[in-house]
């Protein structure tokens, strides 16, 4: 048999039907659902008199709209947001799917809750009406975002109509330098490939620097595969993965655990398997990075300066000019001299316990600069509880951070956590698009440790100076 990639193996194990032209029905093992991209899908089912085919494989949690202030226990003030969350409450109940309501301690960002509860397992296919579904690829699961019509399709049939993507390998060799994190890896890769570099591909991340990452770090890397245009990101499961999964509420137990483990250990790319595209970065060459523009590909080491639009080619010249103007920066300006107004630590990219530990490590015994608005939004109620138990919450609060409840929050600003026009934010989230964190808001993407450093100095800061 010809050697297969990890993607080939998972794909082959899930094809329920293949037409002559290569169009496949791909079986979906886990369908994650949130309140923003699902109401029209459930409505479609109702209108057609259809049921959810596999409610036991469907998990819903509200995250995008939910306020993160303690008063949310009294209900959601914004009527539209409330209606969406109430619609999810009702749909979950009517269709009999697993549900974590707003006031459940397990509630949180769907991509943090899935792995935390053991819904996400190696070798699975996982979809959600959210582009950051790529996160679950950290477990060696084929996971990607879908639109609402496809949400309806999966609800009704537990399959997706798909054609196979091409294979791309991103290898990060060697060791990372101190102060460099998973976030810096994933941003550096997008800086290398561009935001369309992965279009048409599923990426497998590999190499020593990837192997050395915790599950939290691997989730950060895979989370942003979509920002590089890829359908999904994957990392082959190993002992780190199995250790993380074992004992989680919905992970297999006993004999099933042993059987699962036997299969999971076959989930790696065979020697000699073909990749259509290969990118290799040296771990040692990756620096702590920050974005300067309005696309995740606009990324540079913190020691660099804002580029000159004329240095680019083609359509990027105008795009860079527009970005720099929108961001209120000047070509040649040192990134480490850019003053910020706000710091946001959270999101499905960097809202896990390890992220909060990394930020707290820098903040310990320090205060944020006067006038800076800073908030930590844990990725789930359980992450929040653990951070409180470890004393991280006290570090954040004593430093001057607001300590919030779980949700997507200022990553996409659908809830009240938003930037004002012109407000500049150091954010651990995943998109720096125009208006992403609020109309006219300016976003610089960076790691949790870098965000903490920026909160202390009030400007984008090289975290290595504080270590």
């Amino acid at each position: 048999m010809s050697p297969k990639t990890l993607y080939d193996k998972i794909w082959d194990a899930h094809v329920a039907h293949e037409a002559d032209d290569g169009t496949c029905l791909l079986y979906i093992d886990r369908h994650l659902v949130h309140e923003v991209t699902s109401p029209q899908a459930f409505e479609g089912l109702r209108m057609a008199g259809r049921k959810v085919r596999a409610p036991e494989k469907t998990i819903a949690v509200p995250d995008h709209n939910v306020p993160t202030t303690p008063d949310r226990m009294n209900g959601i003030e914004n009527p539209e947001s409330r209606i969406q969350v109430e619609a999810l409450d009702k749909n979950a109940k009517d269709f009999g799917i697993h549900y974590y309501p707003v006031n459940d301690v397990r509630q949180g960002i769907v991509h943090i809750v899935g792995p935390e509860q053991g819904w996400t397992l190696p070798g699975m296919t996982v979809v959600c009406g959210d582009s950051h579904t790529a996160t679950h690829g950290a477990f060696g699961a084929l996971a990607h975002g879908i639109g609402t019509s496809e949400v309806e399709h999966v609800l009704a049939t537990q399959t997706l109509i798909q054609k196979k993507s091409k294979n791309m390998k991103v290898e990060i060799t060697g060791k990372l330098q101190p102060g460099v994190t998973a976030k810096d890896i994933t941003l550096a890769v997008i800086g290398e490939t561009g935001t369309a570099g992965g279009t048409g591909y599923v990426i497998e991340y590999c190499g020593e620097a990837i192997r050395d990452l915790s599950m939290e770090g691997r989730m950060t890397v895979c989370n942003m595969a979509i920002e590089g245009g890829a359908r999904a990101g994957l990392i082959a499961p190993d002992e780190t993965t199995f250790e993380y999964v074992k004992g989680r509420p919905h992970a297999p137990k006993g004999a099933q655990w042993e059987a699962a483990l036997t299969w999971w250990k076959t989930l790696f790319t065979d020697e000699g398997a073909h990749f259509d595209k290969v990118i290799t970065l040296r771990g040692e060459d990756i620096a702590p990075v920050v974005t300067w523009g309005t696309s995740p590909e606009d990324v540079l080491p913190i020691t660099a300066t804002v580029p000159n639009p004329e240095d680019f080619e083609g359509g990027k010249v105008d795009a860079a000019r527009r970005s720099i103007e929108y961001m209120g920066l000047k070509a040649g300006q040192k990134l480490s001299e850019v003053e910020i107004d706000t710091v946001f630590i959270g999101s499905c990219t960097n809202g896990r316990i390890e992220d909060l530990r990394a930020a707290a490590e820098i903040l310990k015994g320090k205060k944020i600069k006067d006038g800076i608005r800073a908030m930590v939004v844990p990725g789930s109620g359980l992450v929040r509880a653990q951070a409180e138990e470890e004393g991280l919450a006290d570090i954040f609060k004593e430093a001057g951070f607001e300590w919030r409840l779980a949700g997507c929050s200022m990553c996409l600003a659908m809830n009240p956590d938003q930037l004002q026009p012109g407000e500049r934010c150091a954010a651990t989230s995943n998109r720096n698009f125009e208006g992403r964190q609020g109309r006219g808001g300016r976003t610089h993407l960076l790691s949790p440790a870098m965000a903490a450093a920026a909160a202390i100095t009030g400007r984008l800061t090289d975290v290595r100076e504080m270590m």
């Binding site: 991209t37 659908m414 208006g435």
Partner: protein, 201 residues
């Protein structure tokens, strides 16, 4: 879904690259639980000033392009969020075809589910079509799906590729879910097999 056959209409040029779905429809408009009525907020932040007045400089606000049915856009159109509200807004505005050198994967899929035809063309053809779109309302393009051809206002014919299954569905206005449900027995069979092979799932 309506059948897609041919579009003969004004094409609006948007040469900016990496137009993301946050630009196409900002999140403040994602709180709806319906699919309809989003055309008025298409490209909201570029199309309107902070006070809600139209930005006259924005292409779709110019008299020549207010009725555009085709969009010729820069590279990597539709990147970012998976929100299907983006194609819903495009469709509701009246745009039926989007032409670019490349599209983001999820947006591309979402278009077909809503009867919008996204067409990928090479850089050379893209430049010709972008020039043609700049000519305004008197220059109408024709997009013929059956023949897989775009004809510019001055008669240049450009062929395009499309997946045969997707073409078939667009031409016939077919509903994916109905088609898949006809293959129910394959899904049943797969589930039987998978429940033996991977009972922990």
């Amino acid at each position: 879904m309506d059948k897609f056959e041919k579009v003969h209409g004004v094409a609006a040029p948007m040469p900016l690259i990496n137009i993301d779905t946050d630009m196409i429809i900002p999140k403040v408009h994602l709180k709806t639980i319906k699919r309809s009525g989003l055309g008025v907020v298409l490209f909201d932040e570029m199309r309107y000033h902070d006070d809600g007045q139209e930005n006259e400089e924005f292409i779709l606000n110019k008299p020549a392009y207010r009725e555009a049915e085709i969009l010729v856009a820069g590279d990597n159109f539709g990147c970012g969020s998976s929100r299907e509200h983006a194609p819903w807004a495009i469709k509701d505005f009246g745009i039926k075809v989007v032409i670019s050198t490349s599209f983001a994967d999820i947006f591309f899929n979402n278009c077909f589910k809503n009867g919008i035809l996204p067409i990928v063309v090479g850089a050379e053809h893209h430049a010709i079509l972008m020039d043609d779109a700049h000519k305004g309302e008197n220059a109408r393009m024709t997009v013929h799906l059956e023949d897989q051809q775009i004809t510019t206002s001055d008669g240049v014919v450009i062929d395009f590729e499309i997946d045969p299954h997707r073409k078939h569905c667009l031409l016939n206005g077919l509903d994916d879910i109905g088609l898949t449900m006809e293959k129910d027995h394959h899904i049943d069979k797969f589930e039987d097999h998978a429940s033996q092979a991977r009972p922990w799932v």
